[in-house]
């Protein structure tokens, strides 16, 4: 555990990618095998499920710190991270502790079914025993992600440095459904044969946003153009009579979308498709907001299946007749995909083909991009016709060319303290738009990003001086500042007070030049919805 805590401390204390990778590689060379497996699991969000409720953790920590519950909560609001708060308020201790990371994880798995009193005894005993940083890491293992800026890509690179196994191969091995309690480092990382894992997805190939002029991509006829659908990237696997659906976040979501299970009969074994999971009603694409009613729900009601049925819009085929097609040219893969979808054995299944276009000029491509909103897409994808299916985010062969965001001028109304590196700064803002009478600001969106650190500091100082009311971590502020808010999509919504849902709202700029009265109204916003 000491070694793991030291690793987290090092990763947490540097912004430099090379130093992070070096620290991880060193860890992968030196740590015991079981700990390495757990470290990979933790850094790829495969923690065991939480053994205790966080409300209990708060109570037990306040108890050890000998402070009232409200004071613990206030402190937590300011620190912004539960594990860190606990590590800070519990009295210091520096006892020696040699227990390994995997032993701690085994403890936590065993702890899950136990009674509250036993859980409390175990956790308080360890809080008392561990030093500040180890206590923080121990608690983080219970509560959640580390937010230390280590992507799957960095971890794979470090593992490559430690083992000499190529990164692409490692990325593939680490995908999918494996259990860190039972798998060995040998099986997970070093072993050659991984074919026995029928649920295993391929790493997604991700595109960067296009930089500069699109015509710099060269001959337009070498590029395949398609719309960039606004759903969830998904990989659909049919192998050995079973179906698996993976989201881009490497989450197995098969059970959430029962209406897709019919594809098990429609597709032959040894087929893997890459596509977009979307709400589709009789061939019409729903909004991301529609899809949101399905995301995160494990049990789906009949009503929901009728109102928000999903389908896969396929754009690529990665495996066909059990063979990996990823090295083939995009154009060839598309031929296979189109032939497959043209003669499915069952009709009316929730599987559609994402249409591709070939254009004679970049102007024509640009015109197609202008049609994105009416086609309910976020813009275009440009894929080189000869491109292989690569691993992870790579430049060169695939580009996304999104439509420019919609924008509106809104007023800052509420603020909340941020998390992570924004701890103790008010950086999470709520924005309002004027009602018809211009007498009241109606909340329409929250935004957390888009200002520079300097601007955040400036707004933070202003908020602290212009607070109207405090509600726990949230403050209402005097309506004064106008910000230009950008967002990707817009739709009617019953769940929002404003009646409108916006997609990925963020701050475009601080409009210090605009007066409060010059902010837009809710009616202006509603006018942007494409009916």
């Amino acid at each position: 555990m000491k070694r793991f805590a030291q690793l987290i401390k090092t990763l947490d204390s540097t912004n430099k990618t090379n130093e992070k990778v070096a620290a991880l590689a060193q860890y992968f060379r030196e740590a015991p095998d079981a700990d390495k497996v757990w470290t990979i699991a933790i850094l790829s969000h495969r923690r065991p499920s939480r053994p205790v409720k966080t409300t209990w953790l708060r109570e037990w920590a306040a108890d050890l710190a000998n402070i009232p519950m409200w004071l613990f909560e206030e402190t937590y609001h300011i620190v912004g991270d539960l594990a860190e708060t606990i590590a800070l308020v519990v009295p210091a201790s520096e006892q020696e502790n040699e227990k390994s990371l995997s032993a701690y994880l085994a403890d936590m798995i065993a702890l899950k079914p136990k009674k509250e009193a036993e859980k409390k005894a175990y956790i308080q005993q360890h809080w008392n025993r561990l030093g500040y940083y180890e206590r923080f890491v121990f608690t983080k293992l219970i509560t959640g992600g580390f937010r230390i800026g280590v992507s799957q890509k960095l971890m794979t690179r470090a593992l490559h440095q430690a083992t000499d196994i190529p990164e692409d191969e490692l990325a593939y091995k680490l995908m999918g459904d494996w259990n860190p309690s039972t798998i060995s480092f040998e099986e997970l990382v070093l072993a050659e044969d991984t074919s026995h894992l029928i649920s295993k997805p391929y790493p997604f190939y991700l595109a960067y946003a296009i930089e500069g002029e699109v015509r710099a991509l060269g001959d337009v006829t070498e590029w395949s153009v398609e719309h960039k659908w606004d759903g969830i990237r998904a990989q659909l696997i049919v192998r050995e009579g079973e179906i698996f659906i993976w989201s881009r976040g490497e989450e197995l979501v098969t059970d959430k979308y029962p209406e897709l299970h019919v594809l098990r009969e429609a597709l032959p074994n040894g087929t893997v498709l890459d596509g977009e999971l979307l709400v589709m009603r009789e061939g019409a694409i729903g909004t991301f907001n529609d899809l949101q009613t399905r995301i995160g729900r494990k049990t789906v009601s009949k009503k929901m299946l009728q109102e928000y049925p999903v389908a896969i819009m396929a754009y690529d085929i990665l495996e066909w007749e059990g063979k990996d097609l990823r090295k083939q040219a995009f154009q060839q893969r598309r031929n296979v995909l189109e032939a497959l979808l043209a003669k499915l054995p069952i009709k009316d299944v929730p599987l559609y083909l994402s249409e591709t276009y070939s254009f004679e000029s970049w102007e024509a491509v640009a015109e197609e991009r202008e049609r994105s909103r009416e086609k309910h897409s976020e813009g275009l994808m440009l894929k080189h016709k000869q491109s292989p299916y690569q691993v992870g985010r790579k430049k060169g062969d695939w580009w996304k060319w999104k439509v420019d965001p919609l924008t509106i001028d809104a007023v800052l109304t509420y603020a909340m303290r941020g998390h992570g590196r924004r701890t103790n700064l008010f950086t999470d803002y709520t924005f309002g738009l004027w009602n018809e009478e211009k007498t009241e600001l109606v909340t329409f969106a929250k935004a957390y990003s888009g200002l520079t650190d300097q601007e955040f500091r400036e707004v933070d100082a202003w908020i602290k001086k212009n607070t109207l009311e405090r509600f726990g971590p949230v403050r209402s502020v005097t309506p004064h500042w106008v910000f230009e808010i950008a967002f990707e999509g817009i739709a009617h919504s019953k769940r929002h007070k404003s009646g409108v849902a916006t997609r990925f709202p963020r701050i475009l700029r601080w409009r210090k030049d605009k007066k409060l009265e010059e902010a837009n109204s809710l009616e202006d916003l509603k006018g942007m919805i494409v009916e």
């Binding site: 300011i78 620190v79 992570g420 701890t423």
Partner: protein, 341 residues
């Protein structure tokens, strides 16, 4: 009710009986000053009274002012009100201000810390009826380790950087933190270079106590000579062109805010050392208890939370609005102001 001995108005903490202000933030005729930081000793008063060690510091910062220096514990009387300065342990020349009138005693802390930093005259508890206290770090999340441990860590960090062929750049504000760091850096590891703002202030402080030798960084300082040595710089130097001369360097920051991981990352500092010239949570509670005061007024920091907790402990505690910079402006912003003057 009678007029309270000290009241808070839009200019500062006012003693009506003596017609003087304590640490006023707007120009007044007579100001009694706790210490030399910019938010407590401002420009523009007609007459200043402060502890004698603070006189050269204030003159350095504010130029030609009319200022009288008093010794710690020396009582002076204005309109039958007795005033005296008592060590606050915050920075060199920092004081609590005791105000006594007709048997009633109030103490205003300015800023203070209870740990003996072996640089300033250590904090002394002063018994009073009403205690006006800062609470910059008035949350149970703030618990300082003994400074000996922190300096062991800092000197170890310096030696480590040196062995890796890198210069150590340590940020601390130029009045207070810089001198405390300097006092405890180990000169056997290497040379200690200083940013001009810190060198100028330290020169003033050398009349008050001994410090290791320092070398001012000027335009003529060679890049090569800095390598492996220590550079003390104000936080505002972070990310400025000035720092390019130190390449290859590692940055460290010494501040109470470094207790928060987020604060370290936000400032993009390589290494954070938790070292403050303010009281931590336990320090505040112990200090309050030692005064035997029943009435507590909090002035800056996590005032609402801290006074609510004090009320639960049975104190008659409240918060008064001031313009001292606790939560709002962290130490680096304070520094920025100071440097730009």
């Amino acid at each position: 009710m009678n007029t309270p001995l000290l009241a808070f108005n839009d200019k500062g903490i006012y003693c009506a009986a003596a017609d003087v202000y304590l640490d006023p933030w707007k120009p007044v005729s007579k100001a009694i000053i706790s210490h030399g930081h910019a938010d407590h000793s401002r420009w523009g008063h007609q007459q200043y009274i402060t502890q004698e060690d603070n006189v050269p510091i204030m003159k350095h910062r504010l130029g030609d002012i009319s200022v009288t220096g008093k010794k710690y514990g020396e009582t002076f009387t204005i309109n039958n009100v007795q005033f005296s300065f008592h060590p606050a342990g915050h920075i060199l020349g920092s004081s609590q201000i005791r105000v006594a009138h007709k048997g009633e005693v109030w103490v205003f802390t300015g800023d203070y810390k209870t740990e003996n930093d072996l640089l300033t005259v250590p904090y002394e508890p002063v018994k009073c009826h009403t205690f006006i206290t800062e609470c910059t770090f008035g949350l149970p999340a703030f618990k300082w380790r003994p400074q000996a441990e922190v300096f062991e860590e800092i000197n170890g960090w310096w030696a480590q950087n040196q062995s890796e062929g890198r210069t150590s750049v340590l940020f601390g504000y130029s009045l207070g933190k810089a001198q405390r760091l300097l006092k405890h850096l180990d000169p056997s590891i290497g040379k200690i270079y200083t940013h001009a703002a810190i060198e100028n202030m330290t020169e003033v402080c050398r009349s008050l106590t001994d410090f290791p030798e320092t070398i001012r960084i000027t335009r003529d300082t060679k890049k090569e000579e800095l390598l492996g040595n220590m550079v003390l710089a104000p936080p505002s130097a972070h990310g400025s062109p000035w720092i390019r001369k130190m390449v290859p360097y590692v940055t460290g920051s010494a501040s109470g805010w470094m207790a928060f991981r987020g604060a370290r990352r936000r400032r993009a500092i390589d290494k954070g050392f938790v070292l403050s010239d303010h009281c931590d949570w336990d320090g505040l509670l112990a200090a309050i208890e030692a005064t035997e005061a029943t009435k507590i007024i909090t002035t800056h920091g996590y005032t609402d939370i801290f006074s609510k907790y004090l009320r639960e402990l049975g104190y008659d505690a409240r918060t008064e609005a001031t313009q001292y910079e606790g939560e709002n402006v962290s130490e680096d912003a304070k520094e920025g102001k100071e440097v730009s003057e």
